[in-house]
């Protein structure tokens, strides 16, 4: 039976094909959803024996929660609506799942409508897709810039971070060569980097600056690698602008610190840093050459190593100022070098406080003023010589006019008397001016003996008033003194005290009109109490000189004690003043650590207050 033989051979051929197909093939009853037969590959895919398959339902070979979807697809395929069901999860006997694309066709066999499903395992393909999907996710969410560039120098792909960081639209970035976005100064370097990338194929790191859409410059740190096969360059970049800025700030502050250190090191003054106990932490080179001690010898020690030459009270005052009052302290003192030679120094010590206000360090700056002292001495010698030289001819002028006026050379007529009187008066004035200049020179040189001794201000006020007696009488001024009982004697240089009183009293007398009044008061003021708007910093004697004179205009208030200044009303009143009196008085009072101030009303009068500390300056 050739037909039968043929039929058998055909069936055998189909079976061979059926079993050896690379895809899984299964036949399912559309009505009952039962599986009828599966090929070898299908059995291997599912892990069932062939005889086991024919007992299963379609619902047995898919994960339970996917069954509704699978059945839906099954129905659609059975109706011929779709041929291919993609990504169908398939459940193995061992419970694991794989994904398959299922191609189907409706067949009728043995009178039953069946669906012939051809399953292709897409696990591998799907894995690759997922992986790609995952990588794409990274590409999307990365805060670093990621780009793919072609060899022509254009971006082919940029991630959202790139758009966000640079501020350009995707279109802008993809249509122009990326080099256009690079800072002009960095373009050549960037081209070189790209060329190297392509040449070597290795990953390269480099940094360049990009110009953002808003014009700001960003530093980007790149890692790029060239794929010769695909002819593209992959690159990632990170915005390091902030880091660069910090690096630069750090570099600058390090540079700055270096400069400070150099300056401190190179300063000719000696600079010392100690802890709050005065233990030396640092000294500069100046201190080494100054004191003759090496750095190693002084660190960890106290500055008394080369100090300690002053009276105990000096150091007590110093420590009180810097440690208790936490104030800077300045003074002149004598120190001694390692070799025993003493030197004059000027010191400034400042406490450095922490946030809580406690002393952390002391910074001491010490300057050798031995030389300056010598200059000072030379200056005062010059001053005294000049004083002698000017006063000698002046003495002759004064004495000879005095003799002529006395009639020692014969009787003078009225005119002669008048003229010699003018010469005599001018000579006296000249002498006052010389004295004033000498006082000022001495004060400004800061030299000269401030011979502070307890001074009887009461007697001095009386004798000073007496000096102005001529004017007082001529103008019929009423001058009174109000002296507090048991007034202490302030310690002050008597010459200074005299000049101070002389200026204040003679000013009051000079600027008060006829029949006016001048009152000089002396009273004790205790430390901390307030008089005429000022608080006394120490127990003091207050000298107040009140007059009913022309007054000082508000506009002149701040200038009244400046050198050579004369108020308009004072100039009109007395054209001959030199503008030095109050300047000198103020300086002298400050030298004595006192204070000078006043209250005044134009046309009504003025009161000058001079506060002289009892303890002296």
């Amino acid at each position: 039976m050739p037909d039968t033989t043929d039929a058998l051979e055909k069936e055998e051929m189909f079976r061979v094909i059926f079993d050896n197909a690379l895809d899984g093939v299964i036949l399912a009853d559309i009505g009952t959803k039962r599986l009828l037969v599966g090929n070898k590959t299908m059995c291997a895919m599912l892990g069932y024996r062939r005889d086991e398959i024919s007992g299963l339902s379609v619902t047995n070979i898919h994960p339970e929660h996917d069954v509704p979807y699978v059945l839906d697809q099954f129905e659609k395929q059975a109706k011929g609506e779709i041929l291919l069901a993609k990504d169908i999860p398939v459940l193995r006997k061992d419970g694991s799942v794989f994904f398959a694309d299922v191609n189907s066709s409706v067949v009728t066999t043995g009178g039953k409508r069946c669906l012939l499903g051809i399953f292709r395992d897409i696990t591998d393909r799907r894995g690759a897709e997922i992986e790609r999907e995952q990588y794409f996710r990274f590409f999307q969410i990365s805060t670093d810039i990621m780009v793919i560039a072609d060899p022509q120098g254009c971006f082919k792909k940029v991630n959202p971070a790139c758009l966000q960081v640079l501020g350009y639209s995707e279109e802008e970035l993809l249509t122009k060569p990326f080099i256009d976005f690079v800072h002009p100064d960095d373009r050549q370097m960037t081209r070189d980097e790209m060329a190297r990338q392509i040449r070597t194929g290795a990953s390269h790191d480099f940094e360049n600056r990009y110009v953002c859409k808003d014009g700001t410059l960003l530093w980007l740190s790149w890692r790029a690698t060239h794929d010769e096969g695909e002819k593209v360059t992959y690159a990632t970049a990170r915005d390091i602008t902030e880091r660069k800025r910090e690096e630069r700030a750090l570099r600058e502050s390090a540079e700055e610190l270096k400069k400070f250190k150099m300056a401190v090191e190179a300063a000719s003054d000696q600079i010392i840093l100690t802890d709050s106990e005065g233990t030396i932490i640092y000294v500069n080179k100046g201190a080494e050459s100054f004191t003759g001690y090496s750095r190693e010898e002084v660190i960890g020690k106290k500055a008394s190593l080369w100090g300690g030459q002053m009276p105990k009270g000096f150091y007590e005052e110093m420590w009180k100022a810097i440690r208790e009052d936490k104030k800077p302290f300045s003074a002149e003192l004598v120190n001694r070098r390692k070799d025993g030679v003493p030197y004059d120094a000027e010191i400034h010590i400042s406490p450095v406080l922490d946030d809580a206000g406690a002393v952390r360090y002391f910074i001491g700056v010490e300057r050798d003023i031995t030389k300056a002292k010598e200059v000072d001495t030379a200056k005062s010698e010059f001053i005294s010589l000049a004083s002698h030289q000017m006063r000698t001819p002046l003495t002759a002028v004064n004495w000879y006019s005095e003799m002529l006026l006395n009639g020692d050379a014969g009787e003078l007529n009225a005119k002669q008397k008048e003229y010699f009187q003018a010469i005599y008066t001018a000579g006296q004035q000249m002498n006052e001016i010389i004295k004033t200049f000498l006082h000022i020179l001495r004060l400004e040189a800061g030299s000269g003996a401030m011979n502070a001794i307890p001074v009887d201000l009461v007697g001095m006020v009386q004798s000073t008033v007496e000096e102005s007696k001529l004017t007082i009488d001529k103008k019929h001024l009423h001058v009174s003194e109000q002296i507090q009982d048991a007034l202490p004697l302030p310690k002050i240089d008597p010459e200074l005290a005299h000049v101070i009183l002389q200026n204040l009293i003679s000013n009051a007398v000079k600027y008060t009109p006829e029949n006016g009044g001048v009152t000089v008061s002396l009273e004790k003021v205790v430390q901390g109490s307030t008089v005429a708007g000022k608080t006394a910093e120490a127990d003091s004697v207050l000298v107040s000189v009140h007059d009913t004179g022309i007054g000082i205009a508000e506009a002149d208030r701040d200038k009244i004690s400046t050198k050579f200044f004369r108020a308009e009303n004072a100039k009109t009143w007395d054209p001959n003043g030199n503008g030095l009196g109050l300047y000198m008085t103020d300086r002298m009072i400050r030298t004595a650590r006192g204070a000078l101030w006043f209250s005044s009303r134009v046309g009504e009068g003025t009161t000058f207050y001079a506060l002289l500390p009892i303890g002296g300056g």
Binding site: S380, S384, S387, H388, R391, T392, L394, T395, A396, N398, W399, Y400, E402, M403, N406, D408, N431, I434, K435, L438, R442, G448, A449, N451, D493, E495
Partner: protein, 137 residues
């Protein structure tokens, strides 16, 4: 120069001619005998030989200044130690050096010429000559 035995004798040591002349005139006018020297060396010799009742002494002078002269005078003998001396100068008394010398050598007065009338100086001299003997410095 002859002097009456009861006339007080004043030595003026002064290098500036006009100053010396004015002082001489004023002192003579006050009835005093005046002897003179132009510097410390002459002044010291004159003082030791003439033993004046008082010395008016300038400081800045050539050859030997007033302080040197006074120092030698004070060290010489009892008379030198006690003779009243008025420093008459144009240096200021408030300079360290002057204060030191004043303390050491004990002049009766330290007068700044430019600050004093001749009349005032003569008054000081008479006050010293006629006043109570002050203890030696």
């Amino acid at each position: 120069m002859t002097t009456a035995p009861d006339m007080k004798k004043v030595l003026v040591v002064e290098d500036d001619e006009p100053t010396l002349t004015a002082l001489r005139t004023a002192l003579l006018g006050a009835g005093l005998a005046v002897i003179e020297a132009e510097n410390g060396i002459g002044g010291l010799t004159m003082a030791l030989t003439e033993r004046p009742d008082l010395i008016l002494l300038d400081i800045l002078m050539p050859l030997m200044d007033g302080w040197d002269m006074l120092k030698q005078l004070r060290e010489k003998d009892d008379w030198g130690k006690c003779v009243p001396v008025v420093i008459l100068t144009n240096l200021s008394a408030d300079e360290d050096e002057q204060i030191r010398h004043i303390a050491e050598l004990g002049p009766s007065f330290f007068l700044v010429k430019a600050d004093w009338k001749l009349e005032g100086i003569v008054d000081k001299v008479l006050e010293l000559l006629n006043g109570e003997k002050v203890p030696c410095p």
